[in-house]
Symmetry: C2
Subunit: 344 residues, 2 copies
């Protein structure tokens, strides 16, 4: 084996290889005009999942409160409960475009608030957070001394509006943990590589936890990703992906309006999901969204994620994705859904 091949099959440092961390620092500065030190403020993780897990395990002590939205990504709740932390939930709804209000956040804060988790663009709703909310959030985090976990895994998958880079706000960087994923930024979810940008004492703690949860991120993918970033391949990849996704988003949107006109949803401004309130169809059938998802898979071989997975406010909803399937298959799938629901 060559030296490079030998090196790439060996352990890397728990924070990841220096080449990749330097490339991430450069990429982050170009993207958001914020400097992160590749030695002390960046760690490569086992996907964004490993980053969120290790961050919450480090931050949250028993009794601490973590604020999340409902609905939102299903991966936060169980980890907070594992730490014996308490969840405070801000309900968001289709009427408000799934935007939380400043008032809601203020009401959710207590003297036990340890962190607020913001996912934008959101999974499952595709909502891109408004800048005015981020401003309020940053001010409140400073006033009440809590952490912002900014889950930015879909930051490049934006169709309208802008992604707000939280750590670029004055005073925000020192209390923000930014979670990113190469699954989305390079299209390689199977490689299980992501990264975290945070103040050095948080990176130290995440490194310590990562040492015991996975020892180090996997090596081979790190070398490939350093090349991917250093050779400037990311911009082209993102451009092509977003161009392909936006067409499929619009196509699926037309299908929904045509075939499921009573379903309530927003047009996603980012990510690659539609979150449909199907109660106008499910209620007459006396089906929950869970029964719907199971029945649809069994009868029509179409997979959707039942909305209750994303929180109590996801009841009666289903998440549809347009990321992998071509338009022809999206059309077939949508027609099968409409047939199952008796809408066709």
């Amino acid at each position: 084996m060559s030296n490079e091949a030998l090196r790439s099959s060996g352990y890397t440092g728990t924070r990841g290889i220096p080449e990749l961390r330097s490339a991430i620092a450069k990429d982050a500065q170009e993207y958001g005009q914020v400097k992160f030190d590749p030695i002390s403020e960046i760690i490569v993780t086992t996907g964004a999942t490993g980053s969120i897990f290790n961050s919450l395990m480090c931050l949250v002590d028993p009794g601490d409160e973590v604020i999340i939205l409902d609905p939102t990504y299903l991966g936060y709740k169980e980890v907070v409960e594992l730490t014996q932390g308490h969840l405070r939930v801000i309900p968001v709804s289709v009427e408000d475009g799934y935007q939380p209000s400043d008032e809601q956040l203020k009401e959710a804060i207590t003297d036990r608030t340890k962190a607020f988790i913001l996912l934008s663009p959101d999974n499952p709703t595709g909502r891109v957070i408004e800048e005015s909310f981020v401003k309020t959030m940053v001010d409140l985090a400073q006033d009440h001394d809590f952490w912002i976990i900014s889950d930015d895994i879909y930051k490049h998958i934006i169709y309208e509006g802008n992604h707000v880079w939280v750590s670029a706000y004055p005073s925000a960087k020192e209390r923000t943990i930014t979670v990113c994923s190469f699954s989305k930024e390079a299209g390689i979810p199977g490689l299980r590589l992501g990264y975290t940008l945070a103040p050095s004492r948080i990176i130290d703690a995440i490194e310590n936890m990562q040492q015991y949860s996975s020892l180090a991120p996997q090596s081979v993918g790190q070398f490939a990703l350093a090349e991917f970033l250093n050779k400037g391949m990311k911009a082209q990849y993102v451009k092509e992906s977003v161009a392909a996704y936006v067409k499929k988003r619009d196509f699926m949107g037309r299908m929904i309006r045509e075939l499921l006109p009573k379903a309530r949803t927003i047009r996603p401004s980012g990510a690659y999901y539609y979150f449909l309130d199907l109660r106008p169809y499910l209620d007459p059938l006396h089906q929950t969204e869970q029964e719907f998802a199971e029945g649809l898979l069994a009868k029509e071989n179409v997979a959707v994620i039942p909305g209750g997975f994303f929180g109590e406010n996801g009841r009666g909803h289903a998440r549809l994705t347009f990321v992998t399937e071509p338009e022809g298959r999206i059309e077939v799938g949508m027609k099968k859904i409409a047939r199952y629901l008796g809408a066709a």
Copy 2:
């Protein structure tokens, strides 16, 4: 991209790809004559580290006791403490060849004992556990209803004696969690892939934990390892590695006797470490093993692991490894150590 390449860059199931789990089941049956169901009793993990972390996180409730040896691998203690479990430590010594006694295990068991962790061959001592102890351990685990975590990552790296496959004992399989690592079995530590064999309810729990700690094992390495096992490459790899290691073990052993005659150690029967009691050299220098390791690195550019990392009984010791370096470099390193200690 080909379908295979596309598939290998996507997420795999949290338990790993079916091809790899089937290959592991076949390998385990050939190795130890024990059947494990690839669907319900095997999970691919993020290295053995991910396996141990997830196993302990699932098993240990606050106040539960976990029994380990001292010295032993440094990766157990912190995870047990993270679960708020208590450690019970069995001291082992060079005089007894680092073998624990039946009596010591009996004394360590209480009504809060949840698990006993056995690492054989051991890191750092290279001790291979005696079969009589395993028999007693299995009986005691049944009588007192505790789990055996059998860390078998070095199971093929054996020079004398036999590795005891704990789950092959009558009644042991149902209370044994067997941890294995492709880092050792295929020589690819950087890929972060290992596997766990256990009763299905434990595999279910590990899967649930793994979903939140890393989502899934990385994909590309799994496809490569399925080929490695299915094409019968493992036997040859193990044979060649062990043949190379045993020569280096004997070479390093001669160097130790020649250059550090007052150091006390055992000849390792497995793994690839010498664990040296250096107090005859360190005490006159008034140095701890930590100061020795730091000084040696700074003055002679030779790295050893200070023994205190492996437990209280490792104080005054250092772990030397012969896995990667050729004999010429082992000789140079040993001479530098002897010079630093004033033994040369």
